[in-house]
């Protein structure tokens, strides 16, 4: 065994990210690690790479138990990792990035460019890829940056390469190239571990596959001995939550999007003409693996970013050209997926957070002055009805637990009964009691006649709450399912179209 783990357990507070994990990867193989969000894949990889240490259990390298004191120590044993956020320096050329921190030098500390170039050519020969080494990293497309990261690991002598969702940012042709490169490196005797959500590529390239769920290894097997359908089943597991009975009547359409397209800064189309509608009294869920266009859809619907094409209607009014302020005024509420950076202002007080956006209501404002007494009264009553545990409402909201923070956010968004709520990852970082409470809030809001667009990566949550499910994949809605649909069918769509 080239690299592995024996009984590795890692806890973060109440959460057990890795629960007595046994894992083995052999030299000269490509080993895929698959699993849903929060399955514990990244934690395991960080432990194998020395960036994190297990609470118990050991890392095994070359059949020997080792203690890795850090990433450098892992590197000394030939283990390197490509992170999801690239560790490249903008403004430097590809070649400079390749040799940075291990530059060959001539006299006077001058970097020996010829020697660096020679090293680069040698890498090119070994891997069969060709790069324009004089290009600056900022100008390089994302797949080139990724290859550069891999080459840098090789340059520094790594023969165990850990890749964290390497294909998430790549186009299909680039994925094929990357896969070819990985196979080639494998054939030269290197060990490759890669994390992925996409079962097609996992099946296409890997020799071994390990499925993780809830911090445990569910099964490790040879790729030849399994199928996409089986993998999807193993990843998703059985849903244990009760499905809440659907009560309310569906009314008129509140939120409507027609063929909306969004392009990113690199002119890549991230949303490819999505249409959807949400009516009073229903929860419509967007199911999908992270990075398939959910963020772009959210900012397009809330008005935080501009559309390239398409049209957004709110309560039968065209709001395509309006920003978030006007859309909120028209009845939209938005529960942000990023609580710390966008959903709340952690350094401001609980009151200041709970009133944001409502503070200019007539009851709270006279002649530009805030009626602080009335605001405090209102907020205290509101937060009490959401059972927010707090010592005083004047404390910074950042002092609250994650679950209570989210209650403040949801209380604010549902305050004043908006026509429509876009709820993104509403239970992210919330414990089990908090999750149940937030679900209850969403259901009650729906039963009062609210329209909810629920965007979540938690399949369980979607199955529990949704009246209709839209599956998003690669910037498109690839399927619509009714309530009570087969879990595996949803999972299959999410993972790239296993039907």
């Amino acid at each position: 065994m080239r690299i592995g783990a024996r009984g590795v357990t890692r806890r973060f507070g109440a959460l057990t990210a890795n629960d007595s994990v046994d894992f083995s990867a052999f030299a000269g193989t490509i080993h895929a690690i698959v699993g849903g969000n929060g399955a514990g894949k990244s934690t395991l990889m960080r432990i194998l790479q020395g960036m994190d240490r297990p609470d118990s259990g050991t890392v095994i390298v070359n059949d020997q138990p080792v203690t890795l004191s850090g990433a450098d120590a892992a590197f000394g044993l030939g283990i390197g990792m490509v992170h999801q956020e690239f560790m490249l320096v903008p403004g430097l050329t590809l070649l400079e990035n390749l040799v940075l921190a291990h530059e060959p030098v001539k006299a006077f500390g001058v970097v020996d460019k010829a020697a660096a170039m020679q090293a680069a050519r040698k890498l090119e020969k070994e891997t069969g890829v060709h790069l324009d080494w004089s290009m600056r990293v900022d100008d390089a497309p994302v797949h080139v940056r990724q290859i550069l990261e891999i080459l840098r690991l090789l340059h520094r002598g790594a023969d165990v390469l850990i890749l964290d969702e390497p294909t998430a940012v790549l186009a299909p042709a680039q994925i094929r190239d990357l896969m070819a490169l990985l196979k080639r490196l494998r054939d030269e005797g290197r060990t490759i571990l890669f994390i992925s959500h996409k079962l097609d590529e996992v099946m296409a390239v890997s020799d071994d596959i390990t499925v993780m769920r809830s911090g445990r290894i569910i099964r490790s097997m040879a790729a030849a001995a399994t199928s996409k359908a089986e993998l999807a089943e193993l990843m998703i597991g059985e849903t244990l939550l009760d499905i809440v009975a659907h009560k309310s009547e569906v009314g008129e359409t509140v939120l409507k999007a027609e063929k909306i397209s969004v392009v990113d800064a690199d002119q890549v189309e991230r949303l490819k003409g999505i249409s959807l509608s949400v009516a009073k009294g229903e929860i419509v869920a967007i199911a999908g693996v992270a990075g398939n266009g959910q963020e772009e859809l959210t900012s397009a619907l809330t008005g935080l970013s501009r559309l390239r094409k398409g049209r957004v209607e709110l309560c039968s009014v065209d709001v395509t050209r309006e920003g978030i302020a006007a859309r909120r005024a028209a009845g939209l509420a938005y529960l942000s997926p990023d609580r710390a950076a966008e959903g709340l202002c952690l350094t401001a007080s609980i009151v200041e957070n709970a009133i944001a956006g409502h503070h200019r209501r007539k009851e709270f404002l006279s002649a530009g002055f805030l009626k602080l007494g009335r605001i405090r009264h209102h907020v205290d009553a509101l937060l009490d009805s959401y059972s927010v545990k707090r010592a005083a409402s004047s404390l910074p909201v950042g002092r609250l637990s994650g679950g209570n923070q989210q209650r403040v956010a949801i209380a604010r968004e549902l305050d004043g009964d908006p026509a429509c709520l876009i709820a993104c990852q509403p239970t992210r970082g919330v414990d089990i009691h908090g999750i149940a409470f937030i679900h209850k809030c969403l259901l009650e809001y729906r039963d009062r006649g609210g329209a909810v667009l629920l965007i979540s990566e938690e399949l369980d949550e979607i199955i529990t709450l949704a009246d209709r499910i839209l599956v998003i994949y690669n910037g498109e809605i690839c399927g619509e399912l009714a309530r009570g649909s087969d879990v595996e069918k949803i999972g299959g769509l999410m993972l790239g179209g296993v039907r």
Partner: protein, 298 residues
């Protein structure tokens, strides 16, 4: 006439260029050094005292560079280790050092404002035979002191340093992507500190040029805000040594020009605003260009 203007412009350029090269390196390392003026002032005073006591200009230069470096070291440590905002710390150091210098003048020399010391060892001028008498070329190349030569030699050296050498590469990395630099096992904070000390050293030399190069007298206002002109120069140069030197030369030329234009009805004060106005224009243009590149999204 033109020879005089050229010569005067080069004289005015030298201190700005020295400090701007230091500030440029500092900025590429990730710190905007607003305290250059304080380091210049410290260098000017120390050089002046050493030049009088020891009568040796090389020693005076070394002392000036070291004292500027010491001020910079204190400044950079508060920024990198105590996480203080560089702008405030820079402004604070300008106020602090100016106060310390005047306090010291009164305490040690019982004088306020200016200091006159005997036997100042001035920077020697390098006259180049034959060339000296050629118009224009003579003014450009002859009759300048060692620091002027050093300042101009530093321009290509700085460019080479940044583009070609290992420390230059690491400096750029530490400034542009500290997290990535750290992930590769380098310490970006230490690299930044080193760049600050270099900026202090260069500013100290710039100060020495003012006190023992140009006039042979020290006054509390000797820098006349040249630390900020240097700041303007490296913002004008947008991180490039060559362009920064053009900025410094331009500002030196304005400086020389305004003295000459005073008698001719062109207001010197308006010429003085040009370096600062140019920086605002340059930043605006850079931002507009970046916006255009990004496309419509804002």
């Amino acid at each position: 006439m033109i020879d005089n203007v050229i010569h005067a412009a080069l004289v005015m350029t030298t201190p700005v260029l020295l400090a701007a090269m230091g500030g440029l390196i500092n900025r590429i390392g990730g710190i905007v050094n607003i305290g250059l003026d304080s380091m210049m002032l410290a260098g000017a005073l120390v050089a002046f005292i050493v030049a009088s006591n020891n009568g040796s200009w090389p020693l005076a230069l070394a002392a000036a560079g070291l004292s500027g470096g010491l001020v910079a070291l204190l400044m950079t440590l508060t920024i990198t280790r105590l996480e203080a905002k560089e702008i405030i710390v820079g402004l604070g150091f300008n106020i602090l050092v100016a106060g310390l210098v005047r306090f010291f003048l009164k305490t040690a020399y019982d004088t306020s404002g200016t200091l006159n010391l005997p036997d100042i060892s001035r920077l020697p001028r390098i006259d180049i035979a034959f060339i000296a008498d050629i118009p224009v070329i003579g003014a450009v190349f002859s009759g300048h002191d060692v620091l002027t030569w050093f300042a101009w030699i530093m321009v290509p050296l700085t460019a080479l340093f940044l583009a070609r050498t290992r420390p230059g590469l690491r400096l750029r990395a530490a400034g542009a992507a500290p997290a990535a630099t750290q992930a590769l096992g380098l310490n970006p904070l230490t690299i930044r500190d080193a760049s600050s000390v270099f900026a202090g050293f260069m500013s100290g030399l710039a100060g020495a040029y003012l006190s023992i190069g140009v006039v042979g007298i020290f006054s509390e206002g000797i820098t006349a805000g040249r630390g900020f002109i240097a700041l303007a120069a490296f913002y004008f140069g947008a991180g490039r040594p060559g362009l920064t030197s053009v900025g410094a030369l331009l500002f030196g030329f304005f400086d020389a020009l305004q003295i000459r234009l005073q008698g001719r009805g062109v207001p010197a004060e308006l010429v003085q605003t040009l370096p600062y106005a140019m920086v605002i224009v340059v930043l605006t243009v850079i931002s507009l260009a970046a916006r255009k590149n990004r496309g419509v999204r804002s």
